[in-house]
């Protein structure tokens, strides 16, 4: 039972943060596509902005690893 709970906890840690990242990236992506259509020179800025919310899922992943390894 403990193993199941640990697995569920790790899955929630990575799953919820992944959904959050995906939602934020969808908003940034659509706004970025609009901005790119008008100003192609902001391409680099948009790529970097799109990568910013990745921190959420990265931290979720680290937490999941900590849960699974008992760290």
């Amino acid at each position: 039972m403990d193993k199941v709970l640990i697995a569920v906890a790790a899955a929630l840690a990575i799953g919820i943060s992944a959904v959050a990242t995906a939602w934020v990236q969808s908003r940034i992506g659509s706004a970025g596509a609009g901005a790119l259509a008008e100003k192609p020179e902001v391409r680099g800025t948009i790529i970097v902005m799109l990568a910013i919310p990745e921190t959420l899922v990265i931290l979720g992943f680290v937490v999941a690893v900590l849960i699974l390894t008992g760290g």
Partner: protein, 620 residues
Amino acid sequence: MILPMLRVQLLGPRALLPEALELLQRDGALELRAPHEDGSRAPRRAAGPEPGEACLAGVAERAEALLSRLPAARGGGPPATLPPTSDPGLLPRLAALEGELQALEARRADLVEEGDATARFARIVTALAPLHHDVDPALLPEVHGLVLRNDPAALALLQAEVRRIAGRDCSVESRPLDGEHTGVLVVVPRACGRALSALLFERGVDEVKLPSAYAGKSLFEVLLHVASRTREIPEEIARADGRLEELASRWAPALADVAAAARAALARAEASSRCGETRFAFLVSGYMPAERLPALRDAAAARFGERVALLTGPPARAEYGEVPVVLRNGPALRPFQLLLALAPLPRYGSIDPTPWLALFYPLFFGLVLGDVVFGLLGAGVALAARARRWGGATGRDVAWIALACSLAALLFGLLFGEALGELGAHLGLEPVLLDRRRAFMTFLGLALAVGGVHLGIGFVLGVANALRGGHRREALARAAKLLMLLSAAAAALGALGLLPRAVLAPALAAGATFLAAALASEGPMAALHLVLGLGNVLSYARLMALGLASVMLAEVANLIAGTLRPAAVGLLVGVLLHAVNFTLGLISPAIAALRLHYVEFFEKFYEEGGAPWRPFALNP
């Protein structure tokens, strides 16, 4: 590094301004700036088009238009010359050339049109041969060629309409031209010709219009003429082309010279509006790289002697925002300037981060990809791209960056003992630094330590930048934050037992002191910046996360290759998964490493706002 620039002022008698601008344009090093109107400098000349500027623009446009209309020159006769742009005789000469070219183009277009019509008509006539008609020659029969879609009803309707117009004195012959079209030859008395043409126009019938030379000729004469013109037209077109090429070889060089001279004169006229002038003197000012000054000084001395003074000096700190920026790095570092292209240029007087990008970008890439096979594969592709010169200059730079990243991946692959995941172990490859597949926490610690060092360097650069800019308070705040983070790191290591526990208390005390110093020099925002700094360090955990994902995908590929049956399918799926892993391994670390630099590292010291150097030159 950011190339040192100089503020340069050229001062001399007003009459010499055009010559001075010509000299500067040839030298091509000075970016012009309008003198300030603060009373201490010469007043700026009233802006607006000078008499002759519109004329120069017109000359340039007309010469360029003529050049674009001329075919490629293939040597030939001696090149002609045109008067200089200041000569009033130039415009009439250009007009004459335009007229000559227009006549030749019109002649060629007529020939092509006639050739098309003749070919179409000949096609119909050939299909309907032998030709005969029942129209009385005394009625001066007129021939109309038509192309209709295969439709018997339409043909019957046409016959009925022609008979309605011409009565019995007409002939309508038709034969299929191809699977879809039918050629029709209608012969009517000349008196009915106009009515027939009107009818065909109204019904939208595609009539093969013959040139006016065919008008009024008998059918036999038309046939003879068609045969003769079919032979002659290509020769005449070739002659017209030859004449155009001759015109191009004679006039293209002169036209190119005139266009370039007019553009240069126009640029000088426009530049003169950015110069200061009084009744007797002119002042040209701007910025140029310090290394180009000796050449300009020598050229000015040779041309003007002591009549024009060249005043130079380093730009004042207050005007750093206006100074153009030129990045200059060694051949090994220069390609990494490409990675800076996604961010605005650094401000003059600040720090060029290219050397740090060249060091840390491949390091982060290698830390994530870390595989001997992928490293060798990437290096091979990069070397091939360089050898084959893919993508020109930009491609060469990208290949250089890719080579550095691949070598870093190879190095870390050796340190982690990975070659396509655990396959390296079968080849005798042992982890030297750590085993990423098992030592998750050590790998996380390594990623955070690398991040801490990276951000520490960022803080140090920030302190140096603030000191350079004369912002001592800001430098103090940044130094306090850096020392505070170092104290926190020491305390954390002490608490984890990685440093002697005795370090913990002094580290906490030092941290509190530095926090107070940061708060005192920067205010309450310093506390927020410290929290953000800790968040920035944690952000480097992505290096561990992406690296772990890469090695786990390699493990899955190996597992499938070893267990799936039949073995060939397992091997195929395994290879495909490794290929996917390699592709992801190229994209993910590239973006993550870039983001770590742009968002975390640059935030500590980078001052954007530099403008690229755009010198006043003949070919800007």
